[in-house]
Symmetry: C2
């Protein structure tokens, strides 16, 4: 239901010209009249394109002279390099994710947080609270009996109907009966893993990847085999192919193809197709987490990897958490040929989800309001992300690297070599600033100088101060001089 | 917060006198004036006690003559015998519960049901719908931001506060921080099992027991060791002791001490104390499911087994499903010394529960309304249960046996030897009547001539017709003459 907007296409074209160096800083952008003629567009489209470029910081307007190319601070920051080797990391290193996450969770819970840059979710204001509230109130008014009636065996059919309709937009044709609703994407991932693998089995994942995936794997007694992933394109197909030949005990591949958490990478369509085919050939199921796909900057929604699946070998997982209802704990899976086993595991794990939330979510997700909300959210995210990147570029020390993603909620920031992100996390937390240290995203220790920083809120003066303070802490740690401003006896 | 009512105590005393044969059918009950004098109670108390006995069918009023003892139909039905042997059933028999449950679920989903006698939950009318609706509406009005805010790491503190207060009533003193909120008791049981045992481990359970427990065990790759259980007193302490000496690989004992599903049994306090001590001595954790404890006929709430736990060896699980909010999927555990591991597993499995439902549940559960609701529910359940038992006693064939429980939601009915409850289930389902066949409650096949029948609704003329029809089907099957009234081509 997404309409690619002409002005966004036009703005994108000029952004690329600036990024690639075709247009240089201080050069004048073609006049609005020229844009109209060259691209055969209306005045309004040409003007809107210029305004988008201005909002994103790529051009600045000079009165009576037109738009001039700027080089935003973010364009000075070097990208995160591609992984050095394509060899998977030995899963024998796989230990302790539970402990690290529990320790992270405990520390976060123990410290009041004033600025949360640690989450992979946008600020509450960015979500359609009133629409959700109205929808919930309507369900409660018209169907209060749902609160006191045991949930029917297969849950609410209306929500699965809407999910099946929305799945068409990412290239998936499934019937509502082929969808299982879960408590968040977390339960979906757990059920998918349990459906296809046993304790002791090896699961291939991106390196780095979302800590929830590593924790689910560890909590189920499985082993994560970390496959090198590119900050641009996600999991390396070559590295996965190599691993499938070397490690014959791989029982599943877990992937986040679109706006990866924490990398921000998007897997190119040809790689999605190759991985679908490669895994089908090896009879290794793919578990796809597409929680972030709808948070794209470009006009087009990226396709699901599952849309290249011809044998039911891909289990597709999604969630309402990132896109429209962070407080409602709704997820889902399309389990392909593991449907019967996933249905059984869902019943054994938590029984069908309660109905009220599903019916309210279906009402919102099935309406045009959902499309309008996403359009607005995506525009905000693009703007906020650029603001955060600009601030980081301005105030983090030399040697900091970052590959600006084209969508999603987070930034994967490489600190100068040797900087301990665990230490940065602890020092920042003492000042009420929460970030996620790189050690949460891999069992390998390869990312101990990375931070995941949320880009899900506007850079207000308060947020800017927090990022600047974070930059100071990083600079201190990078220089090897440990001088936190407020040393705490609890955390020396 | 429960006040034992004097008139209920008085009625209970005379009920026992009738049951034990001290007072015989057609004998006259002492006059109201005599009751007042003998027991030193008010006119109102004496009258209320007589009315309770009349409602429960133990006496009948004859105009101007007083109350006369009746023998309700249920007093003619023989109790289910004690298990014949105290030897646990070999867990190598443990296979296929998944398949049986999936097949049951699929058949139930495929057939429209007009009379549901298959559930272990009361009719929706028996629950405080309006109070829950109002509480939900209030949360949505005053805290709509909860819908769009990621749930904080340890969930809602208010609900755990109320749970800790209510736990005092069953003899448990825990702090709110020691409680983990889950999606129903099902998730609580899963987390408890995963906290203390690994795939391949053996778990001791009652035989028979709730199929959800058997399914959770099987789905986690564990093995259920079925310990003989008495229809009166639940799991045999002797049999468990024997099993703990014989099977050294038992890693946990799962118990439903109060108003067991399906048995209806209540474990005597001395057995609870002995099991707590026995398991502590063997260092085998106990997982207690106390979902039904508040559905007691007697004035006093039965104590939790965990109240005899001195070392944190008992994990206590509870739920809102049976007592006040079947549609809200709220459960909880008090994990004792496995708290850190349970918290981690909850985070890895489904993340913290969403807040709206918890806050609304806390409001209802923390108020006097909850006590009043439970008092009313308990009185209804007692009445309904007696009505269902009377109807079964009247219209099921000779050889049917049933031990009337003193609380809870279900009846465990033994059909004449050789009667297939699977066949009865299928034939009844074709006529729109759902029951739960005994094969769901054990891996042993020992209960293939048992039915679990819900006692959670009044015996209206429609329900009475359904039970009578069920009695006909049972009689047909018991006699070996298979003549369903409406043969279906789909299920010959």
């Amino acid at each position: 239901m997404d309409t690619p907007r002409l002005y966004l296409q036009l703005a994108g074209r000029y952004r690329q010209a600036i990024e690639s160096g075709t247009l240089l800083p201080s050069q004048r952008l073609p006049s609005v009249r020229n844009l109209m003629r060259t691209h055969d567009v209306s005045l309004s489209t040409a003007l809107q394109a210029c305004r988008v470029l201005e909002e994103q910081g790529w051009v600045e307007a000079r009165p009576r002279s037109g738009y001039f190319v700027r080089r935003p601070a973010r364009s000075t920051i070097a990208p995160v390099p591609e992984p050095e080797s394509l060899v998977a990391i030995n899963p024998d290193d796989f230990v302790g994710m539970h402990h690290r996450i529990s320790s992270y969770v405990a520390k976060c819970a123990a410290h009041p947080v004033s600025i949360n840059l640690g989450g992979a979710v946008a600020t509450p204001d960015a979500y359609p609270m009133e629409a959700l509230q109205r929808a919930m109130a309507r369900v409660l008014k018209h169907q209060p009996g749902l609160l006191v009636r045991a949930v029917p065996i297969h849950g609410d059919p209306g929500f699965r109907q809407v999910l099946a309709q929305r799945a068409l937009e990412v290239g998936l044709q499934v019937s509502p009966e082929e969808i299982v609703v879960t408590y968040g994407c977390t339960e979906a991932l757990n059920l998918a893993l349990r459906a296809v693998a046993q304790p002791g089995d090896t699961i291939a994942v991106e390196s780095p990847t979302y800590f929830g995936i590593l924790q689910a794997i560890e909590s189920l007694g499985m082993r994560a085999l970390e496959i090198p992933a590119s900050p641009q394109h996600g999991m390396s197909v070559e590295a996965l192919s190599l691993a499938l030949h070397t490690h014959t005990d791989i029982k599943a591949v877990v992937l986040v193809p679109n706006y990866h958490n924490p990398l921000g990478s998007v897997m190119p369509d040809e790689d999605k197709a190759r991985i679908a085919a490669l895994c089908a050939r090896h009879a290794v199921p793919v578990i796809e987490d597409d929680s972030y796909g709808r948070l794209h900057d470009e006009p087009n929604l990226p396709r699901a990897l599952k849309s290249w699946d011809q044998t039911g070998n891909v289990i597709y997982c999604g969630s309402a958490h990132k896109t429209f209802a962070p407080g409602m704990r709704l997820g889902w899976l399309m389990p392909g040929r593991w449907r019967a086993r996933v249905e059984m595991l869902k019943y054994a794990n938590t029984r069908p989800n309660d109905s009220v939330v599903q019916i309210a979510a279906a009402e919102v997700m099935g309406s045009r309001l959902y499309d309008r909300h996403l359009q607005k959210l995506r525009a905000s995210l693009l703007q906020w992300r650029n603001q955060v990147i600009d601030t980081i570029a301005e105030c983090f020390p030399t040697g900091t690297r970052l590959s600006p993603p084209r969508g999603g909620l987070v930034l994967w920031v490489e600190l100068p070599p040797g900087t301990s992100s665990d230490r940065v996390f602890e020092l920042a937390l003492q000042e009420g600033i929460r970030v996620a240290p790189g050690t949460l995203f891999s069992n390998s220790g390869r990312f101990s100088n990375f931070l995941r920083i949320s880009a899900g809120q506007a850079v207000t003066p308060t947020v800017e101060r927090a990022i600047r303070r974070l930059g100071d802490i990083v600079a201190d740690q990078a220089a090897g001089t440990s001088s936190p401003k407020k040393p705490s006896p609890r955390n020396p």
